[in-house]
């Protein structure tokens, strides 16, 4: 497999200013992305000033507690927005094009599904009960790529093989499939258009452990065989390490750390990321677990300084006064914490 070494670099998009070149190794470059919602109690900052970038064929895990903005970030990238949007701003370069500037129509036709697709939380139950699974998997090809039904089904068959669904399942209905097979069919649907990026939002959390392991085996195969990058969203930290080359840790709507998996799982940088990692129970190792006291702040009027400050054991004066800025580490890792500021 294409191993990631500790000496590898995070793609910090060498030129953070100006638009990245087309055809470069950068697949996705997200800059200052905000998605705020209007609610009855005020403006809720679900995604606040998130920037990161990603190389082709990499997989990034986005981890963080429930409600920290993981799904909202994915929705912001995919422009799948609810009605109550208050602010939606920033830049999202996909293959060098800022997709935020495209018209809705163009984005739907040329980007969503064809370049980036998503397997959403609980998608398993979203299969159409009255259409054959094969037809559903082939559908994006017919709609977005104007393929003939015959070609589309042939392509669907090929993708079924890749994700490990027996071919004759093409002709079955969703209710005839087990949970694991349904989830694979959904994955096939996301891959069928050959996108460069697939976003997986909690793709296996409803499945049993053995099935989950089998699906991750399939994802690894796909990653080795196809030209595809993954963003894996999950709050299951152990499982995230089954796919991640890099890890993004989110806290209270913000990205607080982006580092290589070797750093993130072994020696995370941000105090929150550290707390989170040391709270993960391990099966084999008998380590002393720790937990983070307190709870995340409300995303309506969050603290003006560091959002983690009230729970942070390393906090000092500056933390309450100004929001920390990003520091870039030697391998390009990013951390939003004053402890790491180089001054």
């Amino acid at each position: 497999m294409n191993q990631i070494r500790a000496t590898d670099q995070i793609n910090t998009s060498s030129s953070r200013q100006g638009s990245p070149d087309q055809g470069s190794d950068t697949l996705l470059d997200v800059r200052n992305l905000c998605l705020h919602f209007r609610t009855s109690r005020g403006v809720l900052q679900a995604v606040d000033d998130v920037s990161f970038s990603m190389q082709r064929r990499r997989s990034i895990a986005i981890i963080g507690e429930s409600g920290c903005g993981k799904t909202s970030l994915a929705r912001a990238i995919l422009r799948l927005l609810p009605r109550n949007v208050h602010t939606y701003k920033g830049e999202v370069y996909l293959d060098g094009t800022d997709v935020m500037t495209l018209s809705d129509e163009w984005f739907r036709q040329k980007v969503r599904w064809t370049k980036v697709s998503m397997v959403s939380q609980a998608a398993m139950n979203a299969l159409n009960p009255v259409l054959k699974v094969g037809t559903q998997v082939a559908e994006p090809l017919i709609v977005h790529e104007r393929m003939t039904k015959r070609d589309a089904l042939a392509r669907a068959r090929e993708v079924f093989r890749i994700v490990g669904v027996p071919e004759d399942f093409l002709h079955r209905y969703a209710f005839e499939l087990s949970g694991g097979m349904r989830q694979r069919a959904i994955l096939a649907m996301a891959l069928v258009t050959n996108p460069a990026l697939v976003i997986l939002d909690e793709p296996t959390s409803a499945l049993d452990m053995l099935t989950q392991a089998n699906i991750f085996n399939a994802l690894k195969d796909i990653k080795n065989q196809l030209e595809v990058g993954f963003i894996l969203i999950t709050h299951d930290i152990s499982t995230s390490s089954d796919l991640a080359d890099e890890v993004i840790v989110m806290y209270a709507g913000q990205l607080v750390e982006h580092s290589l998996s070797t750093t993130a799982y072994r020696a995370p940088l941000h105090p929150y990321a550290r707390g989170l990692m040391s709270s993960v129970p391990t099966l084999r190792e008998d380590k002393k677990l720790e937990f983070i006291p307190g709870q995340p702040p409300s995303l309506i009027n969050p603290p003006s300084g560091c959002r983690f400050a009230v729970r942070c054991s390393r906090r000092f004066e500056r933390c309450d006064q100004e929001p920390p800025t990003f520091t870039v580490g030697e391998h390009g890792e990013l951390v939003k914490c004053w402890l790491h500021a180089k001054e």
């Binding site: 053995l210 993130a264 099966l283």
Partner: protein, 326 residues
């Protein structure tokens, strides 16, 4: 030693009847299918199994919330025959911590009312004594400062605080047994450990019997010594935590251990050698050993025919698998 047994369960079966068009018999879901064990006073036991393996049904049957089809349950020396008396008596002595704290708490009651209600129903003490008990329990589960929480409603509490309230309610009548159904699976990683440690502390402090149910084998060592592994409505292996983790015997347990990652960057570069297939239907479970359709080491001619009984290849380590026939 014998009267030290708090709960004993023998050959317990719970089958749910399936009906077609609301009245025609269409088979049974065999949710619990022949489970036996005993739990001593002050002992903590963990039952691990996939979703749908019958864990909740097992607990509900013990609590008298699901009808048992066959088998015997003896609690504190008294046989529970499913008639009202036994169950009522049991309910005041057993605290129940449900899977989903959000669903378990009545939304229109304050913390004080939620904790007072079981005492009112069971005619526990005077008003002052009840108030005293409420404060005591809240301190124990660290809903502190107590005065800040008494008047709050469940939606004003975080997930972790809600689960602590559920635990407080389960303890309020000073039970001798607490059954906890996936008490932390709805909570975030950063608070899970806190709740497990809290339960452990309470268990040792009051010498409680606790049955902890989980689908997450990796939390087990933080809670109890003895572990049961459930697969398709049966307990297929039972042993101490370290035995299970380092010396598991049943092919299903072994597969489960292989499937569970610890957070490790190297995981992304290795495949997990786990059998394919999915847990069987409990309406028409496979013949013989229920794991045989997925088992990589099954013995042809035996495993698909005969149901393996429990073998005890090592003292205190039981396994229902033909490989260990003496």
């Amino acid at each position: 030693m014998a009267n030290d047994v708090l709960l004993s369960v023998k050959d317990l079966h719970t089958w749910y009847e399936l009906k077609k068009w609301g009245f025609l018999h269409a088979g049974y879901v065999r949710a619990v299918d022949g489970v036996s064990f005993s739990l001593h006073r002050g002992e903590a036991l963990t039952i691990v199994g996939e979703s749908g393996s019958g864990k909740t049904t097992l607990l509900k049957t013990i609590l008298g919330l699901a009808p048992k089809t066959k088998g015997e349950i003896v609690f504190a020396g008294q046989k529970l025959d499913g008639k009202r008396g036994g169950v009522e008596q049991l309910r005041s002595q057993v605290g129940f911590v449900q899977q989903d704290p959000y669903g378990a708490l009545p939304p229109f009651m304050t913390v004080r009312k939620i904790l007072e209600e079981p005492m009112l129903i069971n005619k526990f003490g005077t008003g002052a004594e009840r108030e005293q008990r409420i404060r005591e329990v809240m301190e124990e589960v660290r809903l502190l400062p107590v005065n800040d929480f008494l008047a709050k409603y469940p939606h004003m509490l975080s997930g972790g605080q809600q689960q602590r309230l559920v635990i407080a309610r389960a303890m309020i009548l000073r039970p001798s047994l607490i059954v906890a159904d996936e008490p932390v699976s709805m909570l975030d990683a950063s608070v899970r450990v806190e709740i497990l440690e809290l339960m452990r502390r309470i268990q040792t402090a009051h010498n409680l019997g606790v049955i902890y149910i989980t689908h997450d084998l990796s939390t087990v060592r933080y809670f109890s010594e003895r572990v049961f592994i459930m697969y398709a409505a049966k307990v297929v292996e039972q042993a101490g935590v370290d035995e299970i983790v380092h010396n598991s015997l049943h092919p299903y347990t072994k597969a489960l251990l292989t499937a569970i990652p610890d957070p490790d960057p190297d995981n992304a570069h290795r495949y997990r050698d786990v059998p394919s297939g999915e847990p069987p239907s409990l309406v028409n479970p496979p013949s013989g050993c229920r794991f045989h359709p997925r088992c990589p080491v099954k013995i042809e001619g035996q495993c698909e025919v005969e149901v393996p009984p429990p073998f005890e290849p090592m003292k205190g380590h039981l396994v229902e698998c033909w490989l260990y026939k003496a």
